[in-house]
């Protein structure tokens, strides 16, 4: 069994009398330590899949296994525990706590984890050694996203889920962030899944999953991922 198995997952939302199928029998597998890029148009179900994988949403039908554990059946405290211990999330808009410094934002995550990483070390890793006592509002977008990534990886998660992490960033900064994510995956052996609508960055991934109409239409395994430095768009 693969490290992550997304098996025949469907997700329906009821909006009034209309039922919207966000996911329609989607299936894919991801191996441990892979960097996966999920691409697809708006409304293809990328984010829904990511949310389900991250324990933020539930499935209507189908099964999701992470590290051999059936995640789709988790409820209540267990699902929180799953998020807490196994998942790191990075959002497009960082979602940092404005009232906390960079370091404190990371600390916010580590204080609730069992085997968290050293906060300062992580911050140094993401290149914010000197800015760790700044508040989010004192940091640039890229820096804020670095903090967000630091916060996610400091938890030492099994999965690092990134929803359009560069969506709000300029090209250069975006590239740096992607570089960081790639390094994280490589160095810390964390499975990283990145959602993007920019298919240009796909070559950096070990696996590219193309979503369309709620289905993982195309799963491309990239035997030789390129370093982000070598990708231009």
């Amino acid at each position: 069994m693969a490290y992550i198995e997304f098996r025949n997952v469907s997700k329906e939302y009821k909006m009034g009398e209309v039922t919207i199928k966000a996911l329609n029998n989607a299936s894919f597998e991801i191996d441990k330590g892979e960097l996966v890029v999920i691409v697809g148009p708006s409304g293809a179900g990328k984010t829904t899949a990511l949310n389900i994988l991250g324990g933020m949403d539930t499935v209507t039908s189908g099964k999701v296994y992470v590290d051999g554990k059936n995640v789709s059946n988790l409820k209540g405290k267990d699902i929180i525990k799953y998020r807490r211990d196994d998942i790191g999330f990075v959002f497009q808009f960082y979602n940092l706590i404005q009232n906390l410094t960079a370091r404190e934002n990371v600390e916010l995550a580590t204080q609730i984890c069992r085997d968290s990483l050293d906060v300062d070390k992580v911050l140094a890793e993401v290149g914010l050694k000197d800015r760790k006592s700044n508040f989010p509002s004192q940091l640039s977008g890229g820096e804020q996203q670095r903090v967000a990534i630091a916060r996610a990886i400091a938890k030492n998660p099994k999965l690092l889920l990134c929803d359009e992490p560069t969506g709000a960033l300029d090209y250069k900064t975006g590239k740096q962030i992607l570089k960081l994510l790639q390094n994280t995956c490589k160095n810390d052996n964390i499975t990283v899944i990145i959602i993007t609508h920019n298919s240009a960055i796909a070559p950096m991934a070990n696996k590219i999953i193309q979503f369309k109409n709620g289905k993982a239409e195309n799963i491309i395994v990239n035997k030789e991922p390129k370093s982000i430095d070598d990708i231009e768009w």
């Binding site: 949310n51 998020r83 706590i97 009232n99 906390l100 404190e104 509002s137 004192q138």
Partner: protein, 1077 residues
């Protein structure tokens, strides 16, 4: 045309939009509605409570023709007085009303009633049950009597005979509510234990009184004014002053009237007395004379008896001697008789002898005679033959014849002789026999006489004996009679003595009585009129005070509510505007004017405020005044309540709410609208994180754990909200504490006044100085101490301010110290009463702005003014007092008369009732006031303030809840992304709760602390507004009140936290974190 249509459609859309907004943001809508509801409801309810109370009472008093002015005179009032008062302008409905205190004793209880004449003209009681009294032996009682005693309509009340009442039993025919007794107090009396328990109404005809205790009257047009208003007061004041003008005249007139009447009566009594005395003396003299006479009579009778005895003795002895004399005589006669008898017997013998001799002689004679007769016959025959021969012519024999004749004649002679002899003898015999016979007869007679004599003597003796016996009886009887007479006499003498003594006593009593009456007449004091208006009645005035407190509360509370409403709605609405900034930006970008955009929010807040206001005022108008009234009904006898919908208040309240809520909405909307659309359409840049001051103190900061740090920083980040939470919480805590504090403060003032300040148990009013009584009380084993004083009422003034106060002139400072503790109001040290100046109770001092050393003017009831220096201000809680030493008082030229005793019992089990009843029987005591009873009364009165406390607590609790809930909602909606982030990070629900609630807990804590401090001061403020004129509330908040206030707020905080928990749980991570596109 098309344009028009278009425009109209736009309007519809906006309206629809607003409606939708309400649905979507219904929680906010409801919270604003609730704020408005609370604010307007409390405002409308509280503000109209006072007027409702006033109007309801006013209506009752008008309907029952309750007096505006009540006149009482120390010497009673008359029809003349009524007529004089009727002449005064603007008086109407002037009636003298009879009343009488009566006592009704059952087996185990005594009820003292005030029996009042039923009048349908003035002070007309309202019939509750049954019917009105029509007969002289019927009455209607107050409802409470039936409830308390178990008596029912149809039962009968019996009283002792009273010359001023024509009946002594009254059948209860109904129950009434009197307009003149709205408080629990019924006044004092000299009956029973000194307190009147109930009132009852009787037919006017029952009363047999020659004076009216009260004259009641109405003032023209006063009915159309509402009580306690200036207009009403002015109307009354004018008439009051006019009555004051005739007062002196009437007092004087009445005094003279009474005195003259008394004098006349005295004179008549004196005359009667003199006459009675004379009569009595005469009668005594008569009795004495009678005794003397009967004494004489007895003596005479004795004498008579003696002489009677002597006479009868003599008589008897005379009779005896007479008897013996006649006996002797008889004996002599007997002897004579016996001699005679002997002689007679001899004579009889002789006679018998003579008789036979004579018989023989006689016989011889007879023979001779017969022979002679035969011879004679022969001769006669020869004579006859010769004569016949002669006759026949033979003459031959003539010679013979003549011989024969001579022979015959001789014979005849012989015969005759013999015959004579015979006769002689016969005569002799006869005479002898006759003689014998007569002798015999004489003898027999003598014998008979002698026998008769003896018989007579026997009879005489017998007679004498019986006479002696009867005499003896007679004497005995007479003696007995005399003895009886003597005894009777003794008795009569004794009786006389007694009568005399009694008479003398009676005379001296009567003399004393007359002396007393003279003295009494001398001591008849000038009549004194007391003119009262309704406010002088403790019932009315304390109820007015309650209305005033209500009014004060009505101004204080809504302010707090509105303040909080502004806070809440401004945060709530500005949050709403903030949330919709993107939309506002869009609308703005589309070209909508600011006004049109704001319209939505205005409509939203207006709708919620007005809706809340209307619901609030409808609830408030009815609920609050009724609750208030019902509460006051516990301690007052109140009429039916007529709550009114005072829309002006409601509209005013709503307008204020609209200004507060919609105003703050417009304010925050305008603030947002200042930005250009592009800025608006981007999410508002989150508030910057900042280092808090605490971080600059590494010593503390380093020691805090991470979550504490975040919490502290969060608290400081949302300063406005934190401030509001603190203000809200502290406000609520302060209100709750003020409520409890008020209760604590008022609950004990009665105990303070009658425990800490006054230590006595009884106040006795005397009508004259009675040292005997005082020392007897002093020596009573139940009594610890007695202090005597001259207490009077007067007016204290300083710089134009004046107040009525009780003036207590203390006879003996040390005695007074035993019954009262006069402490300096500041230092709480005991102050001595000095001869230099007076002591003034502190509320009075603060009302008149009097300080130690000031010179105050005291005006007594006779309008005499005296100036005194104030030597101290003393602690006091109920009433106003001025203490003056006897010497100081006298030095101003006043007379000092003890008229009040302050009596303190010994500790321990004392039979107070018996003592009280005992001293009430003393004539010098007019009435007593038992402190325990007044304490009860004051407690009742203060209980009405519990209501204020309840309102404070309930409303502030409501407020606390609304504030906390609102703030929690705003907090969550503002930080929903943050919360979602935490959730994504894997925070457990509890950890998320903590993250959010820890803040509110800290803020609540800070709010509570500040609130307790604020509450301390607020209590002072509330107390000063609730405090009535003659009470000093002792600001005293108990520790447990602090704890309880903190606890109540905390409980609300916890409830809100629990509610928050569910809201937090519902926060959807995916939705919340959706990127703004």
């Amino acid at each position: 045309m098309r344009r028009y249509k278009h425009k109209k459609k736009k309007h519809n859309i906006l309206f629809k939009y607003s409606m939708k907004e309400i649905l979507v943001n219904r929680k906010r809508f409801i919270s604003i509605l609730l704020m408005a509801l609370l604010g307007v409801g409390f405002f409308a309810g509280l503000v109209s409570s006072g007027p409702d109370m006033r109007d309801s009472l006013d209506k009752f008093l008008d309907d029952t023709n309750t007096y505006d002015i009540n006149i009482v005179s120390t010497l009673g009032l008359t029809d003349d007085d009524i007529n004089e008062i009727k002449k005064i302008n603007n008086t109407e409905n002037v009636y003298g009303i009879y009343s009488k205190d009566i006592s009704f004793k059952t087996d185990d209880k005594e009820f003292v009633f005030k029996a009042i004449e039923y009048s349908d003209k003035i002070n007309t009681p309202v019939l509750i049950d049954g019917k009105l009294p029509r007969e002289n032996n019927e009455c209607v009682v107050e409802q409470d009597f039936l409830i308390d005693s178990g008596f029912k309509i149809g039962d009968t009340i019996y009283t002792e005979d009273d010359e001023e009442l024509k009946s002594n039993s009254f059948k209860i025919v109904g129950s009434v509510k009197s307009p003149i007794y709205i408080s629990m107090e019924r006044g004092t009396t000299s009956l029973g234990d000194g307190t009147i328990d109930y009132y009852l109404y009787l037919n006017k005809d029952v009363f047999d009184m020659d004076y009216y205790p009260n004259i009641y009257l109405n003032v023209k047009n006063a009915k159309s004014e509402i009580i306690t208003t200036n207009k009403y007061d002015n109307l009354i004041e004018n008439v009051y002053l006019d009555i004051e003008k005739i007062k002196e005249n009437r007092e004087d007139y009445r005094y003279k009237e009474i005195k003259n009447k008394a004098d006349k009566e005295l004179q008549k009594n004196e005359e009667d007395f003199e006459k009675a005395k004379k009569d009595g003396e005469e009668e005594l003299k008569k009795a004495k004379d009678k005794i003397e006479k009967s004494e004489k009579e007895i003596k005479e009778a004795e004498k008579e008896l003696e002489s009677g005895k002597a006479t009868s003795k003599k008589e008897i002895s005379n009779a005896l001697s007479e008897i013996s004399a006649s006996e002797k005589k008889l004996e002599k006669s007997e002897k004579q008789y016996k001699d005679g008898l002997d002689e007679y017997n001899k004579g009889v013998k002789e006679f018998k002898e003579n008789k036979s001799e004579l018989q023989s002689t006689l016989n011889v004679l007879n023979d001779n005679l017969s022979k002679l007769k035969t011879v004679k016959d022969e001769i006669q025959k020869q004579i006859s033959i010769i004569e016949d021969e002669i006759q026949s012519g033979n003459i031959e024999n003539q010679d013979k014849l003549v011989l024969l004749n001579s022979q015959l004649s001789d014979l005849n002679f012989n015969i005759k002789e013999i015959e004579n002899n015979k006769n002689k003898i016969n005569n002799e015999l006869i005479s002898a026999e006759k003689k014998l016979n007569s002798t015999k007869k004489t003898l027999d007679n003598a014998k008979k006489e002698i026998d008769n004599g003896y018989k007579e003597i026997e009879k005489g003796k017998k007679e004498l004996d019986s006479k002696q016996a009867s005499l003896n009886n007679e004497f005995k009887e007479a003696e007995k009679k005399i003895d009886d007479g003597k005894k009777e006499l003794e008795e009569a003498k004794e009786t006389l003595k007694k009568e005399e003594k009694k008479f003398n006593e009676e005379i001296s009593d009567a003399e004393k009585e007359i002396e007393d009456a003279k003295e009494d007449i001398e001591s008849i004091k000038e009549a004194k009129w007391y003119i009262f208006n309704r406010e002088d009645d403790t019932g009315f005035s304390s109820f007015y005070d309650s209305i005033k407190s209500m009014d004060n509360i009505a101004t204080l509370f809504p302010i707090i509510f509105y303040l909080v409403a502004i806070l809440i709605s401004s945060t709530s609405m500005s949050r709403m505007v903030e949330e919709e900034r993107g939309e506002i930006g869009t609308l703005k970008a589309l070209g909508y004017s600011n006004f049109r955009i704001i319209n939505k929010y205005i409509a939203y807040s207006l709708l919620s405020t007005i809706l809340g206001g209307i619901i609030g005022m409808l609830i408030g108008f009815v609920l609050i005044p009724i609750v208030v009234w019902e509460n006051y009904s516990i301690i007052y006898y109140l009429p039916e309540f007529y709550p009114k919908l005072r829309f002006s208040y409601g509209i005013l309240g709503t307008i204020i709410a609209v200004i507060c809520i919609t105003g703050s909405t417009i304010h925050s909307a305008l603030k947002e609208l200042k930005d250009v659309p592009s800025v608006l359409m981007r999410p508002k840049s989150p508030k910057m994180g900042k280092k808090v001051i605490l971080e600059r103190i590494p010593f503390i900061w380093k020691r805090l754990n991470f979550s504490a740090k975040t919490t502290i920083r969060n608290v400081f980040r949302y300063k406005k909200r934190a401030l509001m939470t603190i203000i809200g919480i502290s406000g609520c805590t302060a209100l709750i504490l003020a409520g409890f504090g008020l209760r604590d403060s008022i609950r004990d003032i009665a105990e303070y006044q009658y425990g800490r300040v006054f230590d006595y148990d009884i106040v006795a009013s005397l009508n004259k100085e009675d040292n005997e009584l005082i020392s007897s009380i002093k020596n009573n084993e139940m009594i610890e101490s007695v202090a005597s004083a001259n207490s009077l009422s007067g007016t204290i003034s300083l710089n134009g301010l004046k107040r009525d106060a009780s003036i207590i002139v203390i006879a003996n400072k040390d005695d007074f110290k035993n019954v009262a503790n006069l402490r300096d109001v500041e230092t709480k040290n005991m102050i001595d009463i000095s001869d230099e100046g007076v002591l003034i109770s502190d509320k009075l001092a603060s009302l008149l702005d009097i300080e130690k050393g000031d010179k105050v003017t005291i005006t007594d009831s006779d309008n005499n003014e005296y100036e005194y220096k104030v030597s101290g201000v003393v602690e006091n809680y109920i009433g106003h007092y001025v203490y003056i030493s006897k010497d100081l008082f006298k030095s101003k030229g006043n007379d000092f008369n003890i008229n009040t005793l302050f009596i303190k019992y010994k500790d321990g089990d004392v039979d107070k009732n018996s003592f009280e009843e005992e001293i009430l029987e003393n004539n010098s005591i007019t009435s007593i006031t038992v402190i325990e009873n007044s304490l009860e009364h004051v407690r009742d009165l203060l209980r009405s303030l519990d209501l204020v406390v309840m309102i404070l607590i309930v409303s502030s609790a409501l407020l606390a809840f609304v504030v906390l809930y609102n703030l929690a909602n705003v907090n969550i909606s503002e930080r929903v992304r943050e919360i979602a982030t935490l959730k994504v990070l894997g925070f457990y629900d509890k950890e998320v709760d903590n993250y959010i609630n820890r803040e509110s807990m800290i803020l609540t804590f800070i709010g509570i602390v500040i609130g307790l401090i604020l509450g301390f001061f607020l209590t002072g403020f509330v107390i000063s507004t609730c405090e009535t004129e003659n009470m000093r509330f002792a600001k005293n908040i108990l520790i447990h009140s602090y704890i309880l206030s903190a606890l109540i707020t905390s409980v609300f905080s916890i409830i809100v936290n629990i509610a928050t928990h569910f809201v937090l749980k519902k926060v959807n991570m995916v939705e919340s974190l959706k990127s703004i596109e």
